[in-house]
């Protein structure tokens, strides 16, 4: 690796004069050291500041607006007090359930392929790379694609379209975590099953996937948490709804959509509800992420070989 001479002592002949670091140079270098350490600490504090500010405002503004009505009522018409986001919470649940039903099985299967069949092959690497790249495609692009493919031909927005858009976003995340978790299953465990004459498919399902299941569940929850807050892909698919709807073929309300709509509205009452909605959303997401964290730290294979 690169080992160029550094901005340290210029080389002198060590035999001629005993090297004595000049005082000013040492002082400069150690000052630099302190400055950089200080800057790094400052940067960390600067990064944590917005987090603290966001959480503070969420709790401060959101908690004061939360009440029972928020969880039981549908949005009130303009100008009226009160109202809640019950339909949006349930709507989010429905859209996310649809997305999980479509996205998670495909993602797990794709991850299983990458780990159990495609390891080291060109196809496997290409799929892994594509999954990573797809992961970075902006969510709004998914939104307009599904709009053009599903909503436009049908001439109406629908919960189903929203679910498809979110499912597409889940696939690459679930694929990659499944693959990573399967990679932690020791090869010896697979050999044990194969050595017993268990067919490969059964080994993959009952041994590899089952052994990695805590990690895979973790990954699915992370993917879920990530799309739970997505707004952009739902704007032109699920669209939002001021009323209850359980029909998958109709526009449906979703929490992030409702927060967005209320945040950019001119009414104070709605701003209040937007904060409350954001608090609820973030609590739901953070609870799942924290649970995931605890899961992950417990280790996938405790006491395993």
């Amino acid at each position: 690796m690169s080992t160029q001479p550094v901005s340290m002592q210029p080389l002198r002949d060590p035999l001629q004069e005993p090297r004595k670091p000049s005082r000013s140079n040492v002082a400069r270098r150690s000052a630099m050291d302190w400055i950089v350490s200080g800057l790094a600490i400052l940067a960390t504090l600067l990064v944590l500041a917005p987090l603290a500010a966001i959480l503070f405002y969420l709790v401060y503004k959101g908690a004061s607006s939360l009440n029972l009505a928020f969880f039981t009522h549908v949005p009130a018409p303009v100008g009226e007090q009160g109202g809640g986001m019950s339909n949006a919470i349930v709507g989010s649940g429905i859209v996310l359930a649809l997305a999980s039903l479509m996205g998670i099985p495909v993602g797990i299967a794709a991850g299983t392929y990458l780990s159990e069949f495609g390891r080291g092959t060109f196809l496997g690497n290409a799929i892994r790379f594509t999954a990573d790249v797809l992961n970075g495609v902006p969510s709004i692009v998914m939104g307009i694609t599904i709009y053009s493919m599903v909503v436009k031909p049908q001439h109406h927005y629908s919960a189903l379209a929203g679910g498809i858009a979110l499912a597409i976003m889940m696939v690459p995340t679930v694929t990659r975590t499944t693959e990573e978790m399967l990679a932690t299953v020791p090869h010896a465990v697979r050999e044990a099953a194969l050595g017993l004459g268990v067919p490969k498919w059964r080994t993959a399902i009952s041994v590899s996937l089952r052994t990695a299941s805590p990690g895979i569940i973790t990954g699915c929850m992370l993917a879920f948490a990530r799309v739970a807050g997505e707004t952009a892909p739902l704007l032109f698919t699920a669209f939002g709804n001021q009323f209850w709807s359980f029909n998958l073929n109709e526009p449906i309300a979703a929490l992030p959509l409702q927060i967005y709509a209320y945040a950019i509205s001119p009414y104070d009452e709605w701003h209040r509800l937007a904060w409350a909605g954001a608090l609820v959303l973030i609590v739901l997401i953070m609870v799942s992420v924290t649970l995931v964290r605890i899961f992950a730290n417990r280790g996938v294979l405790k006491g395993g070989s």
């Binding site: 050999e191 044990a192 099953a193 050595g195 017993l196 004459g197 041994v207 294979l301 070989s305």
Partner: protein
């Protein structure tokens, strides 16, 4: 009852490395046969060719004829079918970490779709007894995970797991190399008892172990079978100079 194994002109490769060269060998039924040799000599590859585990590695390849009983395992059957008839015990205990002791032992049955509870219960008891583990675990068969046992117990559980499918041949790839002396001696006792019912092939780097448990011994060197004879002959009067060097410790 076990089946004898007849190996003719077996060659095996890992990638471009020729790990086994023209092996011809006759392993008698219902006896223990030991395979010795320095590490990397091909003895592990050889046993892995006997149940077609060798080919689970995508870069591995084998040619030749291996007959188990009357079945040519490379022509007449699929790898899955062969592995059901040949139990295998690996170098390190490899229990299924998510399964209980009970499920570990009958995994070869359950994962192959066998579900008769009564037979499963009997099988667990029979094979754990055969593996001399029954007394130690009979009270928490379903409570404890297979991975919670000690290393020696895990290895005996893996032996029980291999015996549960009632195989004709039992392959053991250095089954005691990762174990302490007490566990090792238990495993050796087991082999001694089991060899009347199964054809046992045991790979070992421990010559005393080979001498203690096996009737016949083969010596591998650099991918070739140098000598195969009765254990007594190998250890007292080997016909090949290289075998003599190896067993007298003058080798490498």
């Amino acid at each position: 009852m076990g089946a004898g194994i007849k190996v003719e002109d077996l060659n095996a490769w890992y990638g471009s490395t020729h790990t086994l060269q023209d092996i011809n060998l006759h392993i008698p039924a219902n006896h223990a046969t030991a395979l010795i040799g320095p590490s990397g000599c091909g003895k592990s590859t050889f046993v892995r060719c006997l149940n077609r585990m060798h080919e689970t590695n995508p870069i591995a390849r084998a040619t030749g004829v291996v007959k188990m009983g009357d079945v040519d395992i490379y022509r007449d059957a699929s790898p899955v079918e062969i592995r059901r008839r040949v139990g295998m015990v690996f170098q390190r205990p490899n229990p299924f970490p998510t399964m209980s002791i009970y499920d570990n032992v009958v995994s070869g049955l359950k994962l192959n779709g066998f579900s008769n509870r009564r037979v499963l219960d009997e099988t667990v008891e029979r094979s754990l007894k055969q593996a001399a583990l029954w007394e130690e675990v009979k009270d928490d068969l379903k409570k404890k995970s297979g991975a919670s046992l000690s290393g020696g117990q895990q290895q005996r559980m893996c032996i029980a797991r291999a015996l549960a499918v009632d195989p004709e041949v039992l392959l053991m790839d250095e089954p005691a190399s990762a174990l302490d002396p007490v566990s090792t001696s238990k495993i050796e006792d087991l082999i001694f008892q089991l060899k009347s019912q199964y054809t046992i092939v045991i790979v070992t780097h421990n010559m005393q172990q080979a001498a203690r448990v096996a009737e016949n011994t083969g010596f591998f060197l650099n991918g070739k079978l140098v000598e195969f004879d009765s254990t007594h002959k190998i250890f007292t009067n080997p016909s090949d100079k290289r075998t003599e060097d190896y067993i007298t410790g003058r080798f490498g």
